[in-house]
């Protein structure tokens, strides 16, 4: 079979329409994952009894199992849970009304949460203890010290790793095809299914992913530059 360069272009345009799906999965999983990850990291850092053990178990289980497995567990497990609950509580809601992409949102958020909790934790540990003491010494509560002093700096320190997580989730979102969500990759497969020019279609998909990744990298670099301005030393 011969390479058909013009079909790369054709496929490219047809795949573009799947971008919103891919981006929405990425955005939802990153945002929810960040929230989950932050709570998880703080619970572990502050050694909250019971919760911190649960948080550790969550992180090791999720990081110890593949993302595709999470999706399948949620896809098959969640309906059982929901329908069982609904039946016993007399709700009319049934799991069939959950859209397929909903399973991707939920499971990828859980995946991202575990990875991002480690990123946030590392960021928090990068802030020196002395500044927290200084915040306490002027009468701030622990929560004020966290919100005003350590967390903003932890975020700044964690930015490069957070950007990596976003890229990881962008690429990981291709797994959503397993629950019949048509993301960029799945769209490439569909486009090629009529003429069997899979290589061209996947190449177009790769170019799109690459472009999106470069955009994320650029954005991250810009944010890093702004947020990290306080770190550019002059004298000391």
């Amino acid at each position: 079979m011969q390479l058909d360069p013009s079909f790369i272009w054709t496929a490219f345009w047809q795949i573009l329409r799947a971008i919103p799906t891919t981006l929405s999965i990425t955005a939802v999983s990153v945002l929810l994952g960040f929230a989950i990850g932050t709570v998880t990291a703080l619970v572990r850092l502050y050694r909250v009894p019971v919760l911190s053990q649960m948080a550790s178990a969550y992180v090791t289980f999720i990081r110890g199992t593949p993302m595709l497995t999470h999706l399948l567990l949620i896809y098959f497990g969640l309906p059982m849970l929901i329908d069982g609950l609904a039946e016993s509580l007399g709700w009319s809601f049934r799991s069939v009304s959950i859209p397929m992409i909903g399973f991707a949102y939920i499971s990828f958020s859980i995946t991202a949460g575990a990875y991002m909790s480690e990123v946030v934790r590392a960021g928090m540990q990068a802030v020196d203890r002395g500044q927290v003491e200084a915040a306490h010494s002027v009468g701030m509560t622990s929560f004020q010290a966290l919100r005003r002093i350590s967390f903003p700096q932890a975020l700044a320190a964690a930015l490069p790793n957070l950007a990596n997580s976003v890229i990881g989730m962008l690429h990981g979102s291709t797994l959503a095809f397993a629950v019949s969500v048509v993301d960029i990759n799945a769209q490439a497969q569909i486009v090629a299914s009529t003429n069997w020019k899979f290589f061209e279609a996947y190449l177009a998909a790769a170019l799109i992913f690459w472009g999106l990744t470069v955009l994320i990298e650029r954005a991250a670099a810009l944010i890093e530059k702004r947020v990290g301005a306080y770190n550019r030393g002059g004298v000391a």
Binding site: G130, Q131, A135, H136, V138, G139, T141, Y230, N231, A236
Partner: protein, 250 residues
Amino acid sequence: MIELKKISKSFGRHRVLQDISLSVKTGEVVVILGPSGSGKTTLLRCVNYLEKPASGEIAVGDFKMDCAQAKRGDILRLRRKTAMVFQQYNLFRHKTALENVMEALLVVKKMPAAEARSRSVALLEKVGLGGKLDEYPSRLSGGQQQRVGIARALALEPEVILFDEPTSALDPELVGEVLEVIRDIAREGITMIVVTHEMGFARDVANRVVFMDGGVVVEEGTPDDVFQHPKEERTKQFLRRITPEANWVI
């Protein structure tokens, strides 16, 4: 007026502070001296509860607390009456000099921004940093950072300022500017407890010198008493070791 009564503190099995009592009058400058490991920094940190004393009583102004049963509210009130200047400055690194000083006024005192700002500017001018308001700590020298730290401590108008070896981390040529600022504040009659190794400075600003060793107060008195006529053998040893060349010692 600061009153510490029978403060005790252990790290593991090591007793760092053994029933220490110390009282500081309003406007008094007390310098605590002692070899490293004597517990002087720990004592200072107990006063604003960065270390939790195992037992004892702390009174600052009209506020009094029993350390053995300190509640969160007590700790906050104590901290709002005291301020600390740290050896490593501990400035908030993501905030400018001005923001560092304003922070507690805004967050703790809930002061309106304009008022907090004008007060902080005045304080930074006082420590000679009127031209560095918008610089981040990473762009300030150690001496400048420590002066911001002093302005930050002054901002809350605490009843006492605690200085924890404020010049120990500085390059020798920067020590002078920081000591000068502390000296100025001392002259204004602000109550201070200072842990330092700067003997000349101690002699100069202190109303009273406290010599600590092994978690207890070995000797205290006026600078003349302690430096010229130390009574205890341990004090003499320490002074001889730390200032072998100084002609005013012993």
